[in-house]
């Protein structure tokens, strides 16, 4: 698209907070743990 601005030189601040990427919005810590085989 013609009105897209050029890619700026971002300085990314360190770290990353929780975010949604695609349908995935849950923190890694909340992913279910594997159940031990019985």
């Amino acid at each position: 698209m013609s009105d897209v601005r050029p890619i700026p030189v971002f300085t990314m601040l360190p770290g990353a907070g929780p975010a949604c990427e695609g349908d995935d919005c849950l923190p890694a810590a909340s992913l279910p743990e594997a159940q031990p085989a019985s």
Binding site: V4, M12, G17, P18, C20, P32
Partner: protein, 217 residues
Amino acid sequence: MTDPVKVDVWSDVACPWCYIGKRKFEEGAREAGVPVELEYHSFELSPDTPVDFEGSAIEFLSGHKGIPLQQAKAMTDQVSAIAAEVGLDYHYDDIRHTKTLLAHELMHFAKAQGKQLETAEALFKAYFVDGGHIGHVDDLVAIAESAGLDGAAAREALTDHRFAGDVQADLAQAVAYGIRGVPFFVIDGKYGVSGAQAPEVFAGALTQVAAEQATAR
């Protein structure tokens, strides 16, 4: 008088971290004591979601990840607990999962009317707190009116898809910037902040930019 610091944020209404991040950013801006000009940009997390998805957000999550409902509920409870820490009362059981494209068109209409921040808050609250639907024109008009917008004008803009091109431009800009997840903040066009980081991170960045602007004057 200090010039406001421009902050662009890419966000989706259906993103729980975007509402939480909004609160954290607001707290950071208060801590910094720096005037801010905040502009929301569209990001569509789940373009394939039907407008009339039958079921709750928890049911969608369960089906999407192939996990039992109880497990999906436990995961959303964790997000709700974090939301509560910033004063947000998420009701995942009541969320009406839907496509957010039209809500983004409303955000652009609201921007043109100078009411974008009020509209963002109203949309997030409708979706995460009140169990409102944000995929249909009628519901969005009601939300627009609650944010102080003219309902008839909002209806016309949404029906005509007057701002569809602006939404697509935002989505294209996000791709050009390499933004893969939201919320994503760009402060003064120079500093990128990924995710719902702590208020101190936003406060530090805003303070730094304000100092840089003062030095440059």
